[in-house]
């Protein structure tokens, strides 16, 4: 299908573009910007007047629950929610059941996502077999199956020697390692930030040092092994300051933050609101501000959704027994646009945090120059809307942002030149 996107403001941070121009697409690729290429006849024109046209968003962490937890969500349901949210690439962590430590699981996820056809799903392979932190996973085979990196997800590798070997091996395979920094003994049994709120509510706490001590260990191992490493969903100011220092010293590490960490703090738990039960936990106002600063300075380059759809029962439990996580695909772009409104980032910077920066981490391109793959997100930056359980597409309705009013709404999403989502106007 040949498509022309007319009159939109094209923001392509990777190419430093920010101008009102037309985009022409054929055979899944961008074939022209501005004037219609000779001989091109669009089968469909999208009027993008007053709208922003940018590369399709790349989300570095989205749990799709398939295989094994289809009662929470499926690859089809969640990639559909991604399409509605302008997200064209999702990175799926390996903590599925069975664990993605063999090519079979990776193939299955790939196959299902192709069938659904709403978004590109990239897999992270397991770092150790069954995420047990004992034996290395077959990283070579996982890479061959298409894994863009390896990770032990939320299961800590307690044995430092195993972690060192795993990093060395990943480095030999030229696979980046995705790290969740949490010291398991310090975090033991915790469900909220150890601080004013946890002491008041009597919730077992996860101290800030559970994160920073793990970051300290991993940074030294990264330096020792020379592996490419990425820190996922950091939550504390102290941790991002350590990353900044390491980057300053020349270590090649990247980091992302989950969008909710930039808006919520431990105070939002109120009286045991299980929608605010997340991992790592919501921390203090100071941490939230520290994460915003790190984003502004580029220490943290990407913002992800950390999407974790749940069934209703998972959240209908006393706070410590409720399942952590937020169904977050649909609030990713609106929350990031709010950072622009709050003068934390410029609009092109904000878009970069959702497109070319995360794309680079998983080794793919994300730009809209002639010849590039036509993954496109078009959104109306002025449209107001409210998140409700009725308008959520994700199978999981667990969100602390229900009832929030957002500004900026996706109108069209194109995946490799195909319209996978459009609002009917």
């Amino acid at each position: 299908m040949k498509i022309s996107i007319l009159g939109g403001r094209l923001i392509d941070p990777a190419n430093g573009l920010d101008q009102i121009t037309d985009v022409h697409i054929a055979a899944g690729k961008i074939i022209g910007l501005g004037n219609t290429p000779a001989g091109f006849e669009a089968g469909q024109c999208i009027n993008a007047n007053g709208q922003i046209v940018c590369p399709g968003l790349v989300d570095l962490r989205a749990c799709l629950r398939e295989p094994s937890q289809e009662y929470k969500a499926t690859i089809a349901s969640e990639t559909c929610a991604a399409a509605k949210s302008g997200i064209t690439t999702l990175v799926c962590p390996p903590d599925t059941d069975p664990v993605a430590d063999t090519p079979a699981v990776v193939d299955l996820i790939h196959h299902r996502s192709m069938q659904a056809g709403f978004a590109r799903v990239l897999s992270l392979g397991a770092l150790t077999q069954n995420l047990e932190g004992k034996q290395l996973a077959e990283m070579g085979a996982l890479k061959a199956a298409g894994c863009v990196g390896v990770s032990n997800a939320h299961t800590a590798v307690k044995n430092t020697q195993v972690m060192r070997r795993a990093m060395e091996y990943a480095s030999s395979q030229d696979l980046p390692v995705f790290l969740h920094a949490e010291d398991p003994s310090l975090a033991n049994g915790g469900c909220a930030h150890e601080g004013a709120v946890s002491v008041r509510l009597g919730l077992p706490g996860i101290p800030e040092i559970a994160e920073s001590i793990a970051v300290a260990r991993e940074l030294q191992l990264i330096e020792q092994t020379g592996v490419r490493a990425h820190f996922c969903q950091l939550s504390s100011e102290r941790a991002v300051k350590m990353i900044a220092r390491a980057q300053h010293d020349g270590l090649s590490v990247t980091a992302d933050v989950a969008a909710h960490q930039l808006f919520l703090t431990e105070m939002d738990i109120g009286y045991f609101d299980s929608q605010c039960h997340v991992r790592p936990p919501l921390r203090t106002q100071r941490d939230r501000d520290g994460l915003r600063t790190a984003l502004k300075r580029g220490t943290v380059s990407s913002i992800c959704s950390d999407h974790q759809p749940h069934d209703t029962a998972a959240k209908l439990a006393p706070f410590p027994s409720s399942a952590p996580g937020i169904s977050a695909l649909e609030t990713l772009l609106p929350l990031v646009l709010r950072l622009v409104d709050e003068d934390v980032l410029s609009l092109p910077e904000a878009i970069a945090c959702l497109t070319c920066h995360p794309a680079q981490i998983v080794g793919m391109g994300s730009h809209l120059a002639v010849g590039d793959c036509a993954d496109v997100c078009i959104f109306d930056p002025e449209q107001y809307w409210e998140l409700t359980t009725e308008n959520m597409v994700s199978q999981g309705h667990n969100s602390p942002f229900l009832g929030w009013e957002f500004k900026g709404r996706v109108t069209h999403t194109l995946l490799a030149g195909h319209i996978v989502f459009s609002t009917k106007t």
């Binding site: 045991f272 029962a313 410590p320």
Partner: protein, 329 residues
């Protein structure tokens, strides 16, 4: 919308009792005053008043407890309520859905009140959020969070011996970290405006940022007890010896066990309290527990009157205009 204080109805009357936090001083005083009237019921030949006749109270205990369960049951019976006890197998994990399913079943049986004890902080709030509008929930202890009736009976006991709260120095000694009793006592004592509230324990048993609750932290027992009017000892659970919190019971008793010798630095008319059950020779010496300064047994009998007061006040609210309550949400 979640910020609304769940335990008050639209008119500000106590609908549930989930935590002391957020109660006004006058509300606490009202509960204590009402409890004062219930004390005499225990002296009657028929130890019963017909106040809650025809009401059904369900004791929902997800965690083993003998004393609290017994006093709640006794309190409900002295109010002439029908009491149903449901012990839920504590070893099996109760998943959220089945918990709420069970509540709906009980509601269908036309109950009026749930008295809830649960091992998870926030369980009573969760249940209160989901019960039908005519049902009240009383928190009989949730995880490390709150045990409001215990704190109220402690306040009641203090008030019977000390005329005013304001000038008091109170020291709470022991495992503050894991204690729901301590949290509720701290909220009650600060709301009643006492001048000096102290917590005394080694650092391992004191949560970080506890100062934010309005207490002064002491790690030395004699400094902490100096000039105290009231000393509240907390029970030390045996399992605290694991997890590197304490080296041994002996060393704990040596440093933080309450003995007459340590008590000597407190005021001569100091009250010694303990929510029970006590571990003799671990947190308190028998000589002190059974001594003239101890009001530990008095606490137990006061517990019945205080629980009667809470139950009757919560169920004896003036009728609610349901429309205006709906609007307040």
């Amino acid at each position: 919308m979640r910020r609304r204080n769940l335990q008050l109805d639209a008119q500000g009357h106590l609908r549930h009792l989930l935590t002391i936090e957020g109660l006004k001083r006058q509300q606490i005083v009202d509960i204590l005053d009402t409890a004062e009237s219930f004390i005499t019921v225990g002296d009657q030949q028929v130890r019963k008043v017909p106040l809650l006749r025809g009401k059904t109270v369900v004791n929902l205990f997800f965690e083993a407890s003998t004393r609290t369960l017994t006093t709640f049951e006794l309190a409900a019976k002295r109010l002439s309520a029908d009491v149903l006890k449901i012990n839920i197998n504590t070893s099996a994990t109760v998943k959220g859905e089945s918990l709420l399913d069970m509540l709906q079943n009980l509601e269908a049986m036309q109950c009026d009140m749930f008295v809830v004890r649960h091992g998870d902080s926030g369980a009573a709030h969760l249940i209160a959020q989901h019960v039908a509008p005519h049902i009240s929930v009383i928190n009989a202890g949730d995880g490390r969070h709150a045990h409001p009736t215990q704190a109220l009976l402690d306040m009641f006991t203090i008030r019977r011996h000390k005329s005013e709260f304001a000038p008091l120095t109170v020291a709470i000694v022991g495992d503050i970290m894991h204690s729901r009793v301590a949290r509720s006592q701290i909220h009650a004592l600060t709301t009643l405006g006492i001048s000096d509230l102290r917590v005394v324990a080694p650092k391992t048993l004191i949560p970080t940022q506890v100062e934010g609750l309005g207490v002064h932290v002491y790690h030395n027992m004699k400094e902490g007890l100096h000039d105290a009017d009231v000393v509240i000892m907390l029970r030390l659970q045996k399992e605290r010896m694991q997890g590197a919190l304490l080296p041994s019971e002996q060393e704990y008793f040596q440093d933080y066990g309450l003995t007459n010798e340590k008590l000597a630095v407190a005021k001569p008319n100091v009250l010694v309290m303990h929510p029970g059950p006590i571990n003799r020779g671990v947190e308190i010496d028998s000589e002190v527990a059974d001594g003239p300064r101890s009001v530990i047994l008095e606490q137990v009998s006061n517990g019945i009157a205080v629980r009667m007061a809470v139950m009757s006040m919560v169920l004896g609210r003036p009728p609610i205009n349901t429309e205006s309550e709906g609007a307040a949400q």
